[in-house]
Amino acid sequence: MSESPTGGGAAAKSTDPAFAAVPAGTSERARSLWSDAWRDLRRDPVFIIASLIVLAVVSMVLFPSLWTSGDPRDCDLSRARQKPSWDAPFGFSNLGCDYYAQAIYGAGPSIQVAVFATVGIAVIGTLLGVLSGFYGGLVDTVISRVVDVVAGLPFLLGAVVLLALMQSRSVWAIVFVLIALAWISLTRVIRGSVLSTKNMDYVAAARSLGASDRRIIFRHILPNAMAPGVVVLTIALGLFVSLEATLTFLGVGLRAPTVSWGVMIVQGQSHVLSGYPHLLLVPCLFLVTTVLGFILMGDALRDALDPKLR
């Protein structure tokens, strides 16, 4: 997330020899937190299971043909609601589409929404969190007030009202709404961790050596303040997958020609009572497993990145 840590830093380094020692010291330290975490994570069975789930879902999005040779839009009404068989492990939908192929391709929109929204809040949340934590004063007051106001809207209700008013049902509309409401959580976390990092001795040392604000932020504060943010973002990925489906269920999310887990659940629910509960339960299973994968991954990351637990 700290894409441009160099820039002005590199120039300063070449002109002033005193800088050579400082970044080496801090990057050593940043590396050791993450490499310690990585050593823990490699041995954590929960993290391994969670990564396998996430890997499976990501491969469904990128290469659905690895998982199925069926076409989710190749529907034939004569096969409508056929029960599961060897060729079609989850049977056929109400419109006679291969349900297994739909479940695989359904990962696409859900994960797209989650990934785009997460990238969005990562950029906005980090930027605003650093601005308000590092500079304080008026900037901090304004950002914190806006955060308070947005936090005054319960998340799901805010999303429902925004989407209902927007009258657009595209992936981008949902991404926009999720970003507009969720950036506050990361901003709060980054602000808090920047505030506590800002007063560390090594930041004071860097400042007394004449480092610029930008250098201090990117080389010293961000690498150390980012750890709690990464945990929030991982969990956010899972929650966004679940929110996309919830919004679809409430009728303000994606709509029928799109194949997504949320849309499948909405369509499947009306056939439960007539004896086809698997049309509802299959997409639910995919959805819950994916959310579970991301949340477990975030939990494992949190445990591994917290030095207090060592």
Binding site: D148, G152, P154, L156, L157, L165, P277, L287, V288
Partner: protein
């Protein structure tokens, strides 16, 4: 503490005004971008100009600022807040006042919320205490795993799955058999029935409570574990106080402070979750009316209902913060 309360009350006003303005601005922007929502009333038919103008006037949609994209319509905002303060939230497209809709549906939602909160508090705190007392024991892992599972279930999936796998089969099995008493059938009924206003809300209430239960249990657990290592607990044990009293009176009281704060935030989750649960179990509460308004495209009603939800949420959080000052005298608010 007096200073804290005054500060907190003063802080409430800009947050409230900000949230109301945000909603108002979104609503105005939607009209500016999408055109007059009064057209939704006429469905496919094209209304005459005069008729549209009359309807627009009725719903305050005739202000010229609604045609300039990006205009915050401050005049309308002042009107809206004044009306709100006088208890007027507008009316839906069939002329029924929104306040009347809320008054009719609120008792149901309140009952649902009471059941959900009771479930969340009783089960959540109990599970959290047991897990915290036996850190890394069997109960601890059970609580950990089940709370993660519950968090992973989006509320509508949980509701739908419970309805499909519990309510439907049980209702089918009970139909025609007279082994079980009537109340069992009502308890597991697939949707709300007005004849038994509490019993048929039990399953939806439990589903809704399960949402926040996980957070409550986890928070109780961590905060209890933290407090069990505190000096005052060691002192109490050292002076020979029975363990039950050490935990029940000393550790638990302090551990529950963060849980109370979280319950305030949980009201936000409850309000949102209620919309979903009421839609699934056909409960004509406030959330159900919101879904209806979305389906009919009645954007003035959507905004009024969400404003109402936001008001409740903000007031509850204000009360919880004030309660926090009573529970924890150490708090200092600069």
């Amino acid at each position: 503490m007096g200073r804290y309360i005054i500060r907190r009350l003063l802080q409430f006003i800009p947050t409230l005004a900000g949230a109301l303005f945000l909603l108002h601005y979104l609503a105005s922007l939607a009209v500016q971008l999408n055109g007059n929502p009064a057209r939704a009333m006429f469905g496919d038919r094209r209304p005459s100009e005069a008729m549209l103008a009359a309807v627009s006037k009725l719903y305050n949609l005739d202000d010229p600022c609604l045609e300039q994209v990006g205009n915050p319509c401050l005049g309308q905002f002042v009107n809206r807040v004044t009306n709100l303060a006088q208890g007027d939230m507008g009316s839906n497209f069939r002329g029924r006042p929104v306040t009347e809709i809320i008054a009719d549906s609120l008792p149901l939602s309140m009952r649902l919320a009471v059941i959900a909160l009771t479930v969340q508090i009783l089960i959540g705190i109990t599970a959290g205490i047991f897990a915290g007392l036996r850190n890394k024991g069997v109960i601890d892992y059970t609580v950990k795993i089940s709370t993660v599972l519950i968090i992973a279930f989006p509320v509508f999936v949980l509701g739908k799955v419970v309805q499909t796998t519990v309510n439907v089969p049980v209702t089918n099995a009970l139909r025609g058999s007279d082994v079980a008493p009537d109340w069992v059938a009502v308890f597991f009924s697939v949707s709300y029935s007005p004849n038994s206003p509490w019993l048929s809300l039990m399953v939806p209430g439990i589903v809704l409570g399960a949402l926040g239960l996980a957070t409550t249990a986890r928070l109780t657990r961590t905060s209890l574990i933290e407090n069990l290592h505190a000096d005052y607990v060691r002192t109490a044990t050292a002076k020979g106080m029975p363990r039950r009293r050490v935990i029940g009176v000393h550790a638990l009281r302090n551990s529950l402070i963060p849980v109370v704060t979280d319950l305030g935030l949980a009201v936000g989750v409850l309000l949102s979750g209620a919309v979903v649960t009421e839609a699934i179990f056909n409960i004509p509460g406030v959330g159900f009316q919101l879904i209806n308004a979305i389906r009919l495209g009645e954007s003035p009603v959507i905004v009024s209902l969400v404003t109402f939800f936001v008001l409740i949420y903000l007031v509850v959080n204000l009360l919880v913060d004030l309660l926090y000052a009573v529970l924890d005298p150490r708090i200092r608010y600069e």
